[in-house]
């Protein structure tokens, strides 16, 4: 065995081994055309190596010419495959150049068989034997074939084509591929051209060794291909990893992933997906089964959503309910994309579904709460508005709209300001903006135009709104029509003046007896003293000391009488009493309403503990009002020095016995000294700087005039309780 035989055989077998491997790879993956082309190149190189060996060992010129002629077949395969490989594997190369190379090479193959003995020689005349690797090898000598240029031109174009492709790949950023694949193909192709030219133009006394150069190309390509394979393995690992991550994410997000092979009507879903729709783990799912699981009311809308995605841009989106027997109804949201084939027909769909029941429930609760708010707001007997954080109003209730007679659209934003009286607008806006910026509650009074064109006085009270996190949301305000209240206040004040007048009138009547008594006491003393003095004088028994004392006493009693007259002057003459059936609770309500100004002004809290279904009493409404007025005003005075939260006055009504109604006014004041409990009912007893001291005295007269009793007692706790009884009207 010679070295030449060993080396060329090894070259061929190496190429065949690579070809076998990549042929098997291609068989498993028919779309990998680069693998097939690499196989063809490798087989071509092996065949060419065999032809070269035959040429070197040829015994006759005819044998040499035949081996060379058949050597062009693998060369054609190699060149055409290389063009294809560059296009497919490097994904570049100018097509016209590629086609030109293939055409020229095919032409060269035809010329190889039809002109002369082969493409290189018209005729091989004899053989020369030259030493090569320590032995003698045959070398053809004869007439050269000029068409040999066609073959060499095709190889030159292949070099240009490859260099051009390599530059593109280089620019694309894949420099290693450009150098290894592009560079090696170009280099070894150029080398083989050079050697062929030198050998066939008989300049070099060497045998043809192009298969070595081709082997270089094959090895470079093989190296590149193996890197591709490694990378594919790496990608596959990465893909598995990312698939697992996706699975985990879907699992933890409770997402159900699914695909739908539309052509075969098969649906695949992850376990989560199957759970969402209530499908069994191994149950076969198709479109009809999917539809079955939906709430009947949602089937049409889901079908519609699918149809829309098939006919439109392929995006699918829907929200629907799922009914799984034995489980509560669930809301599901789904998203997906459709894959179309070249004909534009939907063939495949991928998607994801997830449970939105909780969100739906929250949305429903929110809607319900919103609806409730609207109902309340629209039925409230006040005007209500709301503003966002931008100070612009975004809500007005029905009350407001009915009042102004305008539409919501007209009032929104700053539209409401059009209804404010021009004289009030500036002040109104100033207060609003200042309070808004400070996030403070505010109250504004302004005139607002009513639907009939009349400007009405409005009291507008606004407070800032916050969400559960405490974030500022805007303002909400309510308004009341003050005009009527102002009129009512004026009316109440007029009634109060009238009542005060009437009560003074009636006070006098009730008082006449006790007034007479009060006046008669000093008069009696004066008269008796004077007449005693006269008698002593007449009897000449009056000494100076006695006389002095008598005069002093007369002066004292005269002063006393003058004071009584002075108080009397403050009162007027009596009016007729009118006894009718009255409801004590009602009178209490009237008096408290009547005292509203005092209650508010003095910051007093009046608690009413009124017995329901209290029998009526026979009495004079005005007089009873006067009694309650006196007792309440006294109680207010009693608690006046307390802290505001302790300024409590309680009015209680109850049955004292089966025929008496009891009314009590309890205060939390300082109480009454025990020795004054009776004295306070005496006329002109007063602790106040201004006041007649007649209130309790008159009140007692009135109550007694009604057949009842008025008394005072100190509470176990702070303060005193004044209570009076009135006979109930007997029900027949």
């Amino acid at each position: 065995m010679s070295w030449v035989t060993i080396i060329w055989s090894m070259t061929a077998s190496a190429c065949l081994t690579l070809a076998a491997i990549y042929f098997l790879v291609w068989c498993r993956r028919r779309t990998a055309w680069a693998d097939l082309l690499f196989t063809l190149i490798s087989v071509g190189v092996a065949a060419f190596a065999f032809c070269e060996l035959s040429m070197m060992q040829a015994a006759t010129p005819a044998q040499f010419a035949t081996a060379l002629r058949w050597g062009h077949v693998p060369t054609w395969v190699i060149v055409v495959s290389l063009v294809g490989f560059v296009r497919l594997h490097m994904r570049t190369g100018r097509p016209w150049l590629g086609w030109s190379i293939c055409a020229l090479r095919t032409l060269a193959l035809l010329l190889n068989f039809v002109t002369g003995q082969n493409l290189n020689f018209r005729e091989v005349t004899h053989l020369r034997h030259v030493p090569f690797l320590g032995e003698s090898v045959s070398l053809g000598v004869g007439v050269s074939n000029p068409y040999m240029l066609v073959g060499q031109l095709s190889l030159l174009l292949l070099v240009i084509f490859t260099v051009d492709a390599a530059i593109t790949v280089w620019r694309r950023g894949d420099r290693r591929q450009a150098l290894v694949t592009g560079g090696s193909i170009a280099f070894f192709a150029l080398a083989s051209i050079a050697q062929a030219v030198l050998v066939f133009w008989q300049i070099l006394d060497w045998p043809l060794t192009a298969s070595f150069f081709f082997l270089g190309i094959v090895l470079a390509m093989g190296y590149e291909m193996s890197r591709e394979t490694l990378r594919a393995a790496q990608l596959s690992d990465d893909l598995r990893e990312s698939h697992q991550r996706l699975d985990l994410a879907a699992q933890s997000a409770r997402l159900g992933l699914w695909t739908w092979d539309i052509a075969r009507d098969e649906i695949w879903a992850t376990d989560n997906g199957r759970q969402l729709f209530g499908f069994g783990k191994s149950e076969r799912i198709n479109f009809a089964r999917l539809m079955d699981s939906l709430h009947p009311a949602d089937r049409e809308s889901v079908s519609h959503a699918f149809a829309k995605s098939f006919n439109g841009n392929g995006d699918y989106e829907s929200e629907h309910r799922v009914v799984v027997p034995g489980q509560p109804m669930r809301w599901i949201a789904a998203r997906g994309t459709v894959e179309f084939n070249k004909a534009g027909k939907a063939v495949f769909m991928r998607g994801v579904s997830h449970d939105i029941t909780e969100r739906k429930r929250t949305e429903d609760a929110l809607k319900e709460s919103e609806a409730r708010f609207r109902t309340v707001a629209d039925n409230a007997p006040v005007l209500i508005w709301m503003a966002g954080t931008d100070k612009l109003c975004d809500f007005f209730n029905k009350g407001w709209l009915d009042f102004t007679g305008r539409t919501l659209e007209q009032e929104l934003g700053n539209g409401w300001a059009e209804g404010v009286h021009p004289d009030d607008l500036a002040g109104c806006l100033k207060t609003y903006v200042a309070a808004f910026d400070a996030r403070q509650p505010f109250t504004i009074e302004y005139r607002l135009r009513r639907h009939d064109g009349e400007y009405r006085w409005i009291s507008d009270h606004g407070v800032p709104r916050h969400d559960s996190e405490g974030d500022f949301l805007g303002y909400i305000g309510s308004c009341v029509d003050l005009t009527e209240r102002k009129q009512a206040e004026a009316e109440a004040s007029r009634q109060r003046a009238e009542l005060a007048h009437v009560s003074r009138v009636s006070v006098m009547g009730e008082l006449s007896a006790s007034m007479a008594h009060e006046l008669n006491q000093p008069l009696t003393a004066i008269l008796s003293n004077t007449q005693a003095a006269q008698r002593f004088l007449a009897a000449d028994k009056l000494d100076r000391v006695e006389f002095d004392e008598i005069l002093k006493d007369i002066v004292h009693d005269t002063t006393r009488a003058r004071d009584v007259i002075r108080h009397l002057r403050a009162l007027v003459k009596k009016s007729e009493r009118e006894f009718v059936r009255v409801d004590v609770n009602e009178i209490i309500g009237q008096v408290i309403a009547f005292l509203h100004g005092d209650i508010v002004g003095r910051n007093v809290t009046v608690i009413q503990e009124l017995a329901p279904e209290l029998p009526l009493v026979l009495g004079d409404r005005t007089q009873l009002q006067q009694v309650l007025l006196n007792l309440l005003l006294n109680a207010f005075d009693a608690v006046g020095a307390n802290r505001v939260r302790d300024r409590l006055v309680t009015v209680v009504t109850a049955m004292a016995s089966s025929e008496m109604v009891r009314v009590a006014v309890r205060d939390g004041g300082v109480g009454i000294p025990a020795d004054k409990l009776e004295e306070i009912f005496q006329p002109f007893f007063t602790t106040k700087t201004e006041g007649l001291g007649m209130g309790l005295s008159v009140s007692r007269s009135i109550v007694e005039g009604h057949g009842g009793r008025l008394s005072a007692e100190n509470n176990p706790g702070p303060g005193a309780t004044f209570s009076f009884t009135l006979p109930a009207v007997v029900q027949n």
């Binding site: 006790s514 009696t524 003393a525 008269l527």
Partner: protein
């Protein structure tokens, strides 16, 4: 009559009134004692004094004048009462007079009014005291009669003849004569007219019967 000096009690809650009345009474020759309340007066025990007069205010805190009058009557006092009041009315004065008051003076009153009333009251008190002594003596004598003698007395003072009395009591005229003699003896009277007068003093015999007595002397 041999009597102690008359005393006038004044009960009024008004100090000025008390002082001035005391002075006025003194100018009229009376001794005056003043009290600020009915309770104070009762507690003093002076109400047993007789003959005496009480000038009493109607309206007072605590025990009122009318209530004091009630108490005194229960105590069989012979104190004569003059009511004074700052705001008297008719029903109240009728009530007071029915209760035995001597007078009812609305304040203010003249010295003559008061002094005349006081004089009248003291006289009444003295008279009452005397009357009470006589009645007590008659009642003592009445108590000595047997029940039968009492029956006979009651019928005789009505002006019935012995015969009629006997018929009424279901006995004979002679027996009645004996009873009648014993009655006259026990009652220490000499004539029928005297017996009738005694009976009248203690309330035995009616108005109709009295007229029959007059028509039949």
């Amino acid at each position: 009559m041999n009597q102690p000096d008359p005393i006038v009690f004044v009960v009024d809650d008004d100090a000025s009134v008390r002082k001035s009345l005391s002075r006025l009474l003194r100018s009229g020759g009376y001794t005056a004692e003043t009290f600020a309340s009915a309770t104070e007066f009762l507690a003093s025990g002076r109400h047993q004094q007789s003959p005496a007069c009480l000038v009493l205010d109607v309206r007072m805190p605590g025990l009122t004048g009318m209530e004091l009058q009630e108490r005194l009557r229960a105590l069989k006092s012979t104190l004569a009462i003059i009511f004074i009041t700052g705001h008297g009315d008719i029903p109240m004065s009728v009530e007071a007079m029915k209760g035995g008051a001597v007078d009812f003076l609305p304040k203010p009153f003249d010295d003559t009014q008061l002094l005349a009333a006081v004089a009248k009251a003291i006289a009444k008190s003295a008279h009452d005291r005397q009357t009470r002594g006589e009645i007590e003596s008659i009642q003592e004598r009445l108590a000595t009669l047997t029940p039968r003698e009492r029956e006979v007395l009651e019928l005789v003072v009505r002006g019935m003849l012995n015969k009629q009395v006997a018929a009424d009591l279901g006995t004979v005229e002679k027996t009645i004569k004996v009873h009648r003699a014993r009655v006259m003896e026990k009652m220490q009277v000499q004539s029928l007219a005297e017996l009738v007068r005694l009976a009248e003093r203690v309330g035995i015999g009616g108005a109709r019967d009295q007229s029959s007595v007059i028509s039949n002397p």
